[in-house]
Symmetry: C2
Subunit: 397 residues, 2 copies
């Protein structure tokens, strides 16, 4: 079966994408489609197929059987397309307003046809351009609360959850995170990528035994704790936004993982943007609002829809919430560090043109990441993240 799938696969062309769009019956017959390949070509082909008169269109995304990274190519499972379309459909059961609609998927061709979101902007790009997205944290807080709750042992039949977990076993994509987020940046590994001016700071991380122990514990959580179906890569580049709308895309890293992981990655990418600009407030406010919306929404669902007989037990929700915050803070620290010195950087920092300013921002990022990891057990309220952020600044000025 795997073999026949492999043999059927071939990359889509623009004319093939148009033919597929026409075939799905989403547009009137004879629509004069325009097709543009808009992907970055590293991991996926992404075709925007639309009617130039009505501007209505679809996105046709096809996974490529390899990843181009730093000039090299490594094989990468096509199964990630199935994971992605299944995750989008599962999330749509709970938060249809926050994910693109999936119209069609083809496992053997690794294709997903989905809603055209080209009226929105990737949140990272908007933030870098100074946008604030006033509703982003309301929406993401709700997205995380509902997807985590309803796919966990608290919101879903516990036997059905195990079947869903089985469908989302995702070894190859998890390995990317295990290596690039939790391991390589903390050792002298060839995938790392940093400016020479950071070498002293980076070598300090490599030799930091206390930090290694805490990152190892966080990695173990990522490897073993199957709380809920998580997005697995919820950075600001995986979010389309406007002032009124938010859509989460690209859940190809989805699997059953710890409650705190998506929250932590989102926090980290807000903090990375905050480090790149002088006006920190909108980003810090987003972190706090995301957490507050998350906890209120999660608590309301817990109250009304919990299937676990111990749901009403005094202290259990508080324990879950507290552990989730601690883990999220630790995961955020790992993400900040890897986005600064690991294989995959963020434009928020790399785009700072003035070299001394850029290096300083990256040094702050490394220090903030380290503080979040080492002091996460002392974080009881989300506001303490703000304090750590400003302490990091104060300590280096």
């Amino acid at each position: 079966m795997t073999h026949s799938k492999q043999s059927v696969y071939e990359p889509l062309t623009e004319s093939g994408a148009v033919a597929l769009a026409a075939r799905l019956g989403l547009f009137p017959e004879g629509t004069p489609f325009i097709c543009q390949e808009i992907g970055d070509g590293n991991l996926n082909l992404v075709f925007h197929v639309f009617d130039p008169q009505t501007k209505k269109g679809v996105i046709i995304k096809q996974a490529l059987p390899y990843a181009k990274v730093v000039g090299e190519s490594w094989p990468l499972t096509l199964k990630r397309a199935v994971i992605e379309s299944n995750a989008l459909r599962t999330f749509a059961d709970y938060v249809p307003q926050y994910v693109p609609k999936v119209y069609y998927s083809d496992e053997s061709l690794a294709i997903t046809v989905m809603e055209d979101l080209s009226h929105l902007q990737i949140a990272r790009k908007g933030f870098i351009a100074g946008k604030t997205y006033p509703l982003l944290s309301q929406h993401i807080g709700e997205f995380i609360a509902k997807t985590l709750f309803y796919t966990s042992d608290f919101g879903m039949n516990q036997q059905q959850k195990k079947q869903l977990q089985q469908n989302f076993i995702n070894p190859e994509l998890c390995k990317i995170t295990e290596d690039l987020v939790f391991t390589d940046p903390f050792f002298d590994h060839e995938t790392n990528n940093f400016e020479e001016e950071l070498r002293r700071d980076v070598e300090a991380l490599w030799n930091d035994d206390a930090l290694h122990l805490e990152v190892a514990k966080l990695k173990r959580k990522f490897l073993t704790e199957a709380d809920a179906l998580i997005h697995g890569d919820l950075h600001t580049g995986s979010i389309f936004a406007s002032d009124t709308e938010t859509k989460v895309i690209d859940p190809e890293f989805a699997f059953y993982g710890p409650f705190g992981f998506d929250i932590g990655q989102f926090f980290a990418n807000l903090l990375l943007n905050a480090l790149s600009r002088s006006e920190h407030e909108p980003l810090l406010a987003h972190i706090e609002k995301t957490w507050n919306v998350f906890t209120h929404t999660f608590a309301a669902l817990w109250e009304q829809h919990n299937v676990e007989p111990y749901a009403k037990t005094e202290g259990l929700l508080q324990d879950v919430r507290q552990q989730t915050l601690i883990d999220a803070v630790g995961f955020a620290g790992c993400e900040i560090i890897r986005r600064t010195i690991g294989l995959a950087h963020v434009a928020d920092l790399d785009g700072i043109e003035d070299q001394p300013t850029r290096i300083h921002a990256k040094q702050l990022a490394l220090q903030l990441g380290r503080q979040l990891i080492l002091h996460r057990q002392t974080i009881h309220e989300v506001q303490q993240i703000r304090s750590l952020f400003f302490q990091t600044f104060a300590a280096t000025h």
Copy 2:
């Protein structure tokens, strides 16, 4: 596929068992087999097929599609036979000396043909008869250390581990443990079964909010933490033993669960036997030796065969060991309580003929279970279990 399997299934007869034994080519042609059905008939058919002259034989075990419990019958997946034979084979990769050899399995008939262990005795029966099994803790400590280490993210390729985890998703059998070990005994549930003299003690458990919170946390660990392939039901009735040999049987509950679970269930069943007799020492010594053998063996494997890049990180092994002991103590507490007042009792306690003595032993069991659960975070050395055991006695005399 499921349908065709269901339609093929039929219960084995004695003549069918003999025909199967002959067909496997394990015995000379024309062997005059004797066949005896030796199962308890509640969950499985178990045929002992042997040559009366040489005494050589095999065990043919077939899962029944239902479980008879307290006079009722509930449907139970036949897939447990596949889980059992696959788990025995996986364990045999690491500790062939401690599991029966599997000669043959048939998924559609839910049959496993395995080594005849009739020269050994079920450890629970032996303990009740006053045996001590001097090598039991050496063997079980090694069994647990090796099976846990080699199937965990420390001893196995982390991507391969996820595939193995996928093969051992075991919702229906896990539900039995979730209900009967972690839930029902702590609420006024119809599956509970206890003598009326215990009602005051039992109702105290049902109203114990602090206890509920801690059991809920332990249940959450069982539901979410996928450390290693665990046996899932490692009580003294799942162990065949003699003075020189030990064999672990019946891993139909196997799945990827927390490191501490098998250890905790084994400790609990040793403690239940200790509560039933005046000579406690051999049982308490077994607990300590099991833990010491486990930690030494696990540490040696960690040193020599660890695949995790953080293996050499100062403090990581200690953290894993400490958390495993804490969890094991908590799981032991749950097991002791459920074996005393839940659906499935143990002969160690139920077999005490003198009624006041039996009630008193059960009261001690409930108190010890509660203490183990509530005070597990304070347990840093295995010897503290002994102290808790004697404190429980002292507090009630």
